[in-house]
Amino acid sequence: MIIPIRCFTCGKLIGDKWEYFSRRVKEGEDAGKVLDDLGLDRYCCRRMLLSHVEIIDEIIRFYETGKQQQMRPT
C-alpha cells in the first residue's frame, strides 16, 4: 500500500528513505548502489525497498478523478 515505517525483520527506519530511493532508481541508477548510499546494509532492509510497490498512488487516483467529475458542470 504505502512504504512501511520500519523494516519488518529488524525494525530499522525505512519510511523516510523510499522517495529518495525511488527517485534515484527512476533516473536509471543501480538500485544496489542507492541502497548502499542510504546505509541499508542488511538484506532484510534492502528487500523492503527493492520489493515495494507504492499502490496508494493507484488508489488515490480514484479519489482525484472522483473530485474532478464532481467539479465538472452538468
Binding site: I5, G11, E64
Partner: protein, 271 residues
C-alpha cells in the same frame, strides 16, 4: 575485562570486549533488545480521517514512528507517581496531527506532527505517514509513552544488537605456497596477497565462514580459522530514539538493578 571502541557514532557502535564470556554478552544483548525504554505512540484518538488508509492502519503506522526520547524527564507509566491510566505530564506526551489536502494530492510527513514537548519529536522529518487526495483530511491526537521492547517492537531501542567471537585467522608460512586460493575464496576481503606474502587485515569483519580453509589445497591446511571464546565483537545500531552510548549505559544500569534485586531475594526466608 578490556574494552576497545572499534567504531562509534550516535546511531551505531562496535566494541571489542576481551576477557569476558558468552552468557554476559547475551545478557547485555537481551537487555538492550527488551528492557531499554524508549518513547512511542501507544494511543491514538482519531477525530477525522477521510484518507485512503483505515484508522487502525494509520494508528499502527504512527505507533511505529521512532521518537527522540528524553529518559531523564519522563517516567515509565508503571513507575510514575500519578498512577493514572491516562498519564500525566511526566509520563505522557501528546502529538497533534491536523492536515488537509486542499486542491492537490499531498504526502503527510512526520514533520507535520505538532508535539507538546519540542524535544520529543520523530527522529526523521521525512517519514511518509499517508497520502491525501484533494479534500481529504486527517485530524488526530496521538499519545506517546515510554515502553519496553518486550511489550511491543515499537519500543525497541535498537534495530540491531549482535555479538560474535573475535576471529583468529592464521597462515602457516612453512606450509603456504602463496597460491592465492584463500584470497579468492574470502568474500569479506580479509585475506590479501602482497607479493608472495599472504596478509590478514580488518579481521573484525570476518564471519568465520571457513571458506578460506576449504579453498586451501595444501595438506595439512596452511590456513587456520578459529575464534577466541573470551573475546567478543559487540555491535549495536540504534533506531535514533537514543544514542548508542546511552542505550549501553541504560542497559548496564538495568542489569545492575536486576542483580541487586536478585541478591535481595536470595536469602532463604525461615518459616
Amino acid at each position: 575485562m578490556k574494552i576497545q571502541i572499534l567504531e562509534k557514532n550516535d546511531i551505531s557502535m562496535r566494541l571489542l570486549i576481551e576477557g569476558t564470556n558468552a552468557p554476559l554478552m547475551n545478557t547485555l544483548r537481551r537487555i538492550i533488545l527488551s528492557e531499554v525504554p524508549t518513547m512511542a505512540v501507544d494511543d491514538v484518538v482519531i477525530l477525522e480521517n477521510s484518507s485512503a488508509l483505515q484508522d487502525e492502519f494509520l494508528a499502527h503506522r504512527i505507533g511505529l514512528v521512532p521518537l527522540k526520547t528524553d529518559l531523564d524527564t519522563y517516567n515509565l507509566p508503571e513507575n510514575c507517581e500519578c498512577k493514572s491510566e491516562f498519564g500525566c505530564n511526566l509520563c505522557r506526551v501528546s502529538l497533534v496531527l491536523d492536515v488537509e489536502a486542499e486542491d492537490h494530492t499531498i504526502v503527510v510527513r512526520s514533520s507535520d506532527f505538532k508535539s507538546e514537548n519540542p524535544t520529543v519529536i520523530p527522529v526523521s522529518n521525512e517519514i511518509s505517514l499517508v497520502k491525501l487526495a484533494p479534500e481529504q483530511k486527517i485530524r488526530l491526537e496521538a499519545y506517546a509513552r515510554l515502553g519496553k521492547g518486550k511489550d511491543h517492537a515499537r519500543w525497541q531501542s535498537v534495530s540491531m544488537c549482535t555479538y560474535k567471537y573475535k576471529p583468529i585467522i592464521s597462515v602457516n608460512t612453512e606450509l603456504c605456497n602463496s597460491c592465492g586460493e584463500c584470497v579468492e575464496a574470502c568474500s569479506r576481503n580479509i585475506i590479501t596477497k602482497t607479493g608472495k606474502k599472504i596478509e590478514i587485515r580488518n579481521l573484525e569483519n570476518c564471519t568465520l565462514c571457513q571458506d578460506c580453509v576449504k579453498a586451501c589445497q595444501e595438506t595439512p591446511k596452511a590456513v587456520k580459522s578459529s575464534w577466541d571464546e573470551t573475546s567478543f565483537i559487540f555491535a549495536i545500531e540504534s533506531t535514533g530514539a537514543l544514542t548508542s552510548e546511552r542505550i549501553l549505559r541504560e542497559a548496564l544500569n538495568i542489569l545492575d538493578g536486576k542483580l541487586v534485586e536478585f541478591l535481595k531475594q536470595l536469602p532463604v526466608k525461615k518459616t
